[in-house]
């Protein structure tokens, strides 16, 4: 069993990683939609994460879906936020400067209803101090854009090709698990010029209130995440890694411990992100990073590969 780490103590990171040319202090980032500077910086020094991924930003403010927006499921959570965010302009003057002032490595998650939306946001971000851009083509909670692009290799390839011409920043494409054939979609993203892939976004799911017989979420369905999705996320990373030996992959889904992060690294991820765990334990991303840093001590081969930007597989 792990020795318990005190997340509030300062720590010298022993094991870094490189994702698409960007050095992370450690292989653990925060997942988009579960991290906001204003909320999280009270709990830990955000600059000490491998990277922080901010909430999906759209060209204009989005109000998202009506509430209720969450329900619980066994070892999981189902959300239907629908990408509410104050828009890219606000992001550029508010959240990003704060994060950069603290010295964080920042991944900006980009949302859109259509190709033009994504292009507009990416263009606005082209000269900003964000370290990487993560293109969210996998949100199950918006009717247009979001998951619809991420389930169609042709549409995805077209979008990424277009974005590739707009920015020289490392482009991560975030994939949805709600597809028949993840490999063809991953290839389409890479062929379009993606520098890295991240997976998984949430699985489509729902709960029903047995007192009323009606869905709990106003949006009826939402996205499932949390420990329940761990084995699914691992299998996606594994399958894409088998098919694409060289593309950097960020593993996401159900990570709430250093041990689970380590599973993703062994499955072929170069780094991981912690999502839902931060909702019920605000310091979870930092704890996971610290636990993993210790677990890697006894795995020098894996640690060396990560530090060199390579993967285990």
């Amino acid at each position: 069993m792990n020795k318990q780490v005190n997340v509030y103590e300062p720590h010298e990171w022993k094991h870094s990683t490189i994702v698409a040319g960007v050095e992370w202090k450690n292989p653990v980032g925060t997942a988009s939609g579960t991290f906001q500077y204003d909320a999280c910086h009270w709990f830990y020094d955000v600059s000490q994460m491998g990277a922080v991924t901010t909430k999906g930003v759209s060209p204009v403010p989005w109000e998202g879906n009506p509430g209720p927006r969450t329900t619980e499921s066994p070892s999981g959570t189902v959300n239907s936020v629908g990408l509410q965010n104050p828009g890219v302009d606000h992001y550029l003057v508010d959240e990003l400067p704060k994060l950069k002032k603290e010295g964080a490595t920042v991944i900006t998650n980009v949302a859109g209803h259509c190709d033009d939306d994504y292009a507009e946001v990416v263009a606005k971000l082209a000269d900003c101090p964000a370290d990487m851009l993560e293109i969210n083509v996998s949100c199950p909670n918006v009717t247009h854009g979001g998951m619809s692009v991420g389930t169609d290799p042709v549409a995805l390839n077209r979008l990424i090709t277009r974005l590739r011409h707009i920015t020289s920043k490392p482009l991560i494409v975030k994939l949805t698990p709600n597809v028949t054939d993840i490999v063809s979609i991953a290839k389409a993203a890479v062929d379009g010029g993606a520098d890295a892939l991240s997976m998984i976004n949430t699985l489509v799911g729902m709960r029903i209130d047995i007192r009323t017989g009606e869905p709990i979420l106003a949006n009826r369905t939402g996205g499932v995440s949390g420990p329940a999705v761990l084995p699914v996320g691992l299998s996606f990373v594994w399958r894409v890694r088998q098919a694409l030996p060289d593309i950097p992959i960020i593993g996401i889904g159900g990570i709430d411990s250093g041990e689970k992060a380590l599973e993703y690294l062994y499955a072929g991820a170069n780094a991981v992100e912690v999502g839902a765990a931060a909702l019920y334990e605000p310091t979870a991303p930092m704890r996971v990073a610290r636990e993993l840093d210790d677990l890697l001590d006894s795995r020098p081969q894996l640690a060396a590969k990560l530090a060199a930007g390579q993967t285990w597989r």
């Binding site: 909320a39 709990f43 830990y44 209720p68 969450t70 959570t77 765990a277 605000p282 704890r287």
Partner: protein, 274 residues
């Protein structure tokens, strides 16, 4: 059983304070848990940080010991004595069912205080209008007001049936009025005391918490009379500390997070004055 995966064994509050951080989720001792009425309990736990910082209408995230039930359950602080913090809750689902079985000697995981409290700076006669499980923040408001010379508290509580909190609030409030569903609703109650409120020594300020339809009725009652009003809202939450955009309410300024922009809003902020 505290969930083994994430519960720190060190003193979270001490370590966080040393590091200049807000203390995160932590395991605290249960001091007392008692049934107030059918399906309604008062849980008391010891946490010096919440006891020392909580303002009325701020809330505490309470977590299930069952690791299949991960989401926080938010509850308003209802009273503070020394380092002991009390919550009053109704059993409505699996989490509250579990909490109803907690007993002195057990532990429970909590985080807080969270959200913005009522604005109680002004000298006033605070009219505490509660419906059902809206009692806790108002009870705590009464407790705080009892310490002041420049303000008074008038409780106006509406109950489904049993008057489970009249005794509790009577310890603190100058005046306690209550009504049950069979007799009428809190607006009836407000009507019946309207005169004394308006002609009292201190100007009335309404603080209210309860079901949405009641809050709307209270707000329009207050708006019609030009009485300042603050409403503590509920929304399903994902985190309770502002990181997930789950808990929104429609306001005049767009959809806002109840957990950090609220839970207290004025009718004006909510656009209910239009």
């Amino acid at each position: 059983m505290a969930n083994a995966t994430f519960i720190p064994t060190f003193d979270v509050t001490a370590e966080a304070s040393r590091a200049g951080r807000f203390p995160g989720r932590r395991t605290v001792p249960v001091v007392d848990n008692r049934r107030l009425s059918d399906g309604i309990y008062r849980l008391t736990f010891r946490d010096s940080y919440i006891a020392g910082h909580a303002k009325p209408a701020q809330f505490v995230d309470v977590y299930s010991a069952d690791p299949t039930r991960l989401m926080p359950r938010p509850f308003g602080v209802s009273e503070v004595e020394g380092d002991d913090v009390s919550l009053i809750f109704a059993v409505v689902g699996k989490g509250t069912e579990e909490f109803s079985h907690l007993a002195a000697g057990d532990t429970v995981d909590v985080m807080g205080p969270l959200g913005k409290g009522f604005d109680m700076k002004a000298p006033a006669n605070y009219v505490l209008v509660a419906g059902g499980l809206g009692v806790p923040p108002l009870l705590y408001a009464a407790q705080k007001l009892a310490l002041r010379d420049d303000a008074t508290a008038t409780a106006a509580f509406g109950y489904r049936d049993e008057r489970f909190a009249d005794d509790l609030v009577a310890k603190y409030a100058e005046r306690v009025e209550s009504i049950t569903n069979a007799q009428g609703n809190v607006v009836d109650l407000l009507n019946s005391i309207e005169d004394s409120l308006i002609h009292g020594d201190l100007p009335p300020v309404i603080l209210s918490c309860g079901p949405m339809p009641m809050m709307r009725a209270v707000a329009s009652w207050a708006l019609a009379r030009g009485i300042p009003c603050q409403l503590s809202l509920e929304a399903r939450m994902g985190c309770g500390y502002g990181t997930c955009y789950v808990c929104v309410v429609d306001t005049a300024a767009g959809r806002q997070k109840v957990c950090v922009a609220g839970p207290v809003f004025t009718p004006e902020q909510l656009g209910w004055d239009k």
